[in-house]
């Protein structure tokens, strides 16, 4: 008996994590089909980038994956530096690494807290945001911005780490180790959380590869692909860290992979702090005021590992002071595309958790 209900989830819905519209075809509670509509947050950032100087475009990348601003900046700046042959001093690279990992932790805290809200658990959200607030204090100390930081700049970073920042990071890391286990336990100690996550939202590895899925979603399907490991940038080849994978392919696997990645991020930051050398934080051969005159010619594509996957930036320069074309390969966009496959045949409650486990950010999907 065909008995459809068409349910509109979104654009504004508590658990879409951004503004997409999921048009769900329901057979009572069972999801028969999901149709995703995007574009509600299309802010034409790529087009605006063509109007600006290279140095001014960082802020638009901040606002793409707005919860993981540091990695977005890093992705753009790596492309620009490759295009304009700009050297980055060693200390600046280590600083960038520390900041990128801190930003990854902050983004995960948002994602895990929102997952808690989606399964109907109010408390973890407040605990994760408390941890995020500590990271934002470090960001404010370093850059002045809480969330959209605009900290890295072409040829280095905006300002050097002083002792206070390093001390704050050390303190945060030592506290966060215990807090993280506490937060993860809030989820994994709950039988209902296991019941709702195990076996739901299954993503087969071959489908994931077909759709270009990256990040924790791909790793939770059993493929150990991480840009930090497979084509190292900054000094990721000089630090020890593991790439966790899960073979369960389901929502629980994704959650556990994310939790394990947080532990690895802590490991990376600790090693970075130990190895942080002295030296200039900004390319000594150039001045910040000379950045406006930076010219680039040719095509460049670089990638970094952001919180949701492989974030690539393509820039074509025509020899002028402004880019001819800027394009971002956003992982959220690719990851979101498999939601209909993952959710097909499951219940609507599973669909909500599946959407939460994708951790897609609207600003990056629509750009």
């Amino acid at each position: 008996m065909s008995h459809w209900i068409e349910l509109n989830i979104g654009p504004v819905h508590p658990s879409t994590h951004g503004i997409y519209r999921f048009r769900v075809k329901l057979n009572e509670e069972t999801v028969e089909d999901v149709d995703i509509t995007i574009g509600y947050l299309h802010r034409n950032a790529e087009k605006i980038c063509e109007l600006n100087y290279f140095v001014n475009n960082t802020i638009y990348f901040d606002r793409m994956d707005y919860i993981d601003a540091m990695n977005m900046e890093l992705g753009y700046l790596r492309a620009v530096e490759a295009l304009t042959d700009m050297e980055v001093p060693e200390r600046a690279q280590w600083i960038r690494m520390i900041m990128a990992e801190l930003s990854r932790i902050a983004a995960r805290m948002v994602g895990i807290g929102a997952l808690g809200l989606d399964v109907g658990m109010l408390t973890p959200f407040f605990h994760t945001f408390h941890e995020r607030e500590k990271i934002q204090k470090i960001f404010v100390e370093a850059s002045g911005g809480r969330q959209e930081v605009n900290y890295m700049s072409i040829g280095g970073v905006y300002q050097d780490f002083n002792d206070k920042i390093i001390e704050e990071i050390r303190e945060f890391i030592s506290e966060f180790k215990g807090k993280l286990e506490e937060i993860v336990k809030m989820f994994t100690d709950s039988e209902i959380f296991w019941q709702r996550n195990v076996g739901t939202g299954i993503l087969e590895p071959d489908i994931a590869l077909d759709y270009g899925v990256t990040g924790p979603m791909l790793r939770a399907s059993g493929i150990p692909y991480d840009v930090r490991k497979d084509s190292p940038y900054l000094f990721y080849d000089k630090v020890n860290f593991d790439v966790p994978i899960a073979r369960t392919k389901d929502n629980m696997g994704r959650f556990l992979v994310k939790a394990e990645e947080l532990r690895q991020s802590i490991r990376i930051i600790e090693q970075c702090l130990a190895k942080l050398p002295d030296g200039p934080y900004f390319n000594p051969k150039t001045k910040k005021s000379a950045m406006l005159l930076l010219k680039g010619q040719g095509d460049v594509f670089t990638r970094v590992e952001s919180e949701s996957g492989e974030f690539g930036v393509f820039i074509r320069g025509d020899g002028g002071v402004k880019p001819y074309r800027v394009h971002a390969r956003s992982p959220s966009f690719k990851n979101l595309a498999v939601v209909p496959i993952m959710a097909k045949g499951s219940l609507i409650a599973d669909l909500i958790i599946t959407i939460a486990s994708v951790d897609a950010v609207a600003g990056e999907v629509d750009r």
Binding site: P14, S15, M121, I192
Partner: protein, 351 residues
């Protein structure tokens, strides 16, 4: 002498019938005012308690320590526009919140509140079948929820109603069977082994309950507690509302005071279910010197149960609907059946 008879004496010049009427009326009002005041305190405690668990402070700006917060909320809800959505079933839409609220309030009048020093027995109703009445009233509440859900054209409300119905039919039978076990056990005094009456009234059950029934039949307590969490529909079992999935479930289209009625019904049910558990399973107002302070025993038990409920509310994720139906039919129902058999054997044994 109970408070009811005292009031009856004050108004004895009106004649027997009218003075009893006035006495019942006045005492109902007193009980309802007490319930309303403690209800406000309850929501305040809930907010502060939840805030403490979540490392927050909770309301503290409205009045001293935020004590007036709930009054502000109530005033706002009264002054709010109550939208009548298009395509509604007018009668059902308007009557649903009223059913929920009136049923919740009515149930409080039936509770055996126990004795308090000068006032004597505080119970309003002296009917012999309050247990039946109580669960009759409790089974009216789902009707209000269902009417509220299906009377609007919203799909979210419809799905919420479907879940609420599936939830209701899977826990109400175990709940009633575990109550039946109470009736069986309280049909005989386990001190003397004689048959005693009053097993169908809540006050009769309490007076027979020298040892709390929760100790005699812990299985029944477990089943009844889970059923009461489901009846009050808070966090692990808030399937009808499912905040993150179905916006607000069957209350999605309600605004203003009509929503306020549902809100009162929700918290009222938490309070009422704590009362019922402490009356049926934890000995109610029984205790040393219960002729003087029985009421206080009841309130202490109830408040502890309310706090446990709130802890469950904020800490446990929502169960999926099929898992809940599983729980209801495959675990709660057999458990409650086993409990019933056990209760029968227990009564045979003490005879």
């Amino acid at each position: 002498m109970s408070i009811l008879l005292r009031i009856h004496q004050w108004f004895s010049f009106l004649g027997s019938f009218a003075s009893f009427g006035v006495a019942y009326f006045l005492q109902s009002i007193v009980v309802l005012v007490f319930v309303a005041l403690s209800f406000i305190a309850l929501i305040y405690i809930f907010r502060k308690y939840m805030a403490r668990i979540q490392r927050r402070i909770g309301p503290n700006r409205v009045g001293k320590f935020g004590l007036l917060q709930l009054i502000a909320d109530a005033l706002k809800l009264v002054g709010k526009e109550s939208i009548l959505p298009e395509g509604r079933d007018d009668m059902a839409y308007k009557i649903a919140p009223v059913i929920v609220m009136i049923a919740t309030i009515l149930a409080f009048v039936l509770l055996p509140f126990g004795d308090l020093a000068y006032f004597g027995s505080l119970a309003v109703t002296h009917s012999k079948v309050t247990l039946v009445l109580m669960f009759g009233i409790l089974s009216i509440i789902p009707i209000g929820e269902i009417l509220g859900g299906i009377s609007t054209k919203s799909n979210y409300a419809l799905l919420g109603t479907m879940r609420a119905v599936a939830k209701d039919i899977s826990f109400e039978i175990p709940m009633m069977i575990s109550v039946l076990a109470i009736v069986i056990v309280s049909s005989r005094s386990y001190v003397t082994g004689d048959a005693i009456t009053g097993g169908l009234s809540l006050s009769g059950i309490v007076s027979n309950e020298v040892i709390p029934y929760g100790i005699i039949e812990p299985l029944g307590l477990l089943v009844f507690f889970i059923s009461m969490v489901a009846r009050a529909s808070y966090s692990p079992f808030d399937l009808g509302e499912s905040d993150s999935e179905l916006i607000s479930g069957y209350t999605t289209e309600y605004s203003g005071m009509r929503f306020g009625f549902f809100y009162i019904g929700l918290f009222g049910m938490v309070y009422l279910s704590s009362f019922l558990i402490s009356v049926l399973y934890l000995g109610g107002a029984n205790g040393p010197y219960d002729n003087y302070v029985g009421f206080i025993y009841l309130m202490i038990k109830t408040i502890i149960l309310v706090l446990i409920s709130f802890l469950i509310w904020v800490a446990i994720p929502r169960i999926r609907i099929d898992k809940f139906v599983n729980l209801g039919w495959k675990y709660l129902l057999p458990l409650s059946m086993a409990n019933l058999v056990y209760a029968g054997l227990f009564v045979l044994y003490i005879r």
